[in-house]
């Protein structure tokens, strides 16, 4: 038993040092594994569908490109509980509303962003994102109109 204890007390500092050095590597987590912080996107368009659901809400936005073509994007937000606690309620938006959503592009390349910042039709700006996800603080710099891919 004391042999085990000796082994543990020698191993522990080594383990802690390794972990301590690896720490900054883990300085991005769920957010940046799913979304690219280097690719801010601003979606301006018409809400075509709302999924007020757990574990994530989804806002589907029809974005009209410069050429007139309409692309549907999705913005992923927090669950209904978290959103309502920020004063963002189910009744605040409806299909057909014009909204602006700022976020970052999904790493998968799909037309999905995380809904970091939602500008509602009445002008209010709410945070739509998942709390504590390790994503960038503050507003992403507004990018030009959403890519037309």
């Amino acid at each position: 038993m004391s042999n085990l204890r000796t082994r543990l007390t020698t191993l522990a500092p080594a383990l802690l040092i390794f972990l301590g050095v690896s720490l900054p590597v883990l300085a991005h987590h769920s957010f940046s594994a799913m979304y690219d912080a280097q690719k801010p996107v601003r979606l301006t368009g018409v809400l075509s569908k709302v999924e007020w659901t757990n574990p994530h809400s989804y806002f589907h936005i029809d974005v009209t490109g410069r050429d007139g073509a309409v692309t549907t994007w999705a913005a992923e937000g927090a669950g209904p509980g978290a959103l309502s606690r920020r004063g963002f309620n189910r009744g605040d938006i409806k299909v057909g509303d014009r909204i602006i959503v700022d976020g970052y592009l999904a790493r998968s390349g799909a037309k999905i962003i995380d809904a970091r910042r939602v500008t509602l039709p009445d002008g209010r700006v709410v945070s739509g994102g998942t709390p504590g996800d390790g994503g960038p603080d503050g507003t992403p710099k507004p990018a030009p109109a959403a890519p037309q891919r």
Binding site: A33, N54, P55, A74, G79, P80, G81
Partner: protein, 165 residues
């Protein structure tokens, strides 16, 4: 969000009133998640102690028989809670998680864990009250216990990964 073509029966489960209620709730979904954790602590935490006893890692002075007789019913309560909460959480997300690989592996590991338990209990475990003191725990029992730990830990890990992929 449903991506891809899910089978009709999955879509049906997804649209059950209970599934919709859980999915669109403010509190019910997080509460179910919380009870899911309570249940898994009760199940995995207690089973781990029993399995580690069979593996001879801890409580070596305690005869396994009485320990199993005491702890197994407790672990079954844990299973009831984690399974019930899990079933509701799964129903609520059935269509959106249908293609999730981690969910599929988790369910396979869950089946394996239950099968392992069944095999154990219908075979060598029958003689558990003979072990302890002078009579060592048979190697086969230790093997079942080791497999049990691996499967339940696997269920836990794959379950956690579902949210990220």
């Amino acid at each position: 969000m449903i991506i891809g073509d899910v089978p009709d029966w999955v879509r049906a489960v997804h649209e059950w009133p209970l599934s919709v209620a859980v999915r669109e709730s403010e509190l019910l979904f997080p509460i179910l998640q919380t009870f899911h954790i309570f249940g898994l602590v009760l199940l995995v935490g207690v089973i781990a102690i029993l399995d580690l006893r069979f593996l001879g890692v801890l409580l070596r002075a305690q005869a396994p028989g009485p320990l199993a007789r005491w702890l197994l019913p407790i672990s079954r309560w844990g299973f009831a809670v984690v399974f019930a909460s899990g079933a509701l959480l799964l129903a609520a997300q059935s269509a959106s998680l249908y293609f999730n690989e981690f969910l599929r592996v988790k369910l396979l590991l869950l089946a394996a864990a239950l099968m392992n338990a069944l095999l154990f209990h219908t075979s060598v475990f029958r003689r558990v009250h003979e072990w302890g003191g002078a009579v060592p725990v048979p190697r086969s029992a230790a093997a079942f216990a080791g497999a049990s730990l691996l499967f339940w830990v696997g269920v836990l890990v794959t379950g956690r990964y579902i949210a990220y992929f």
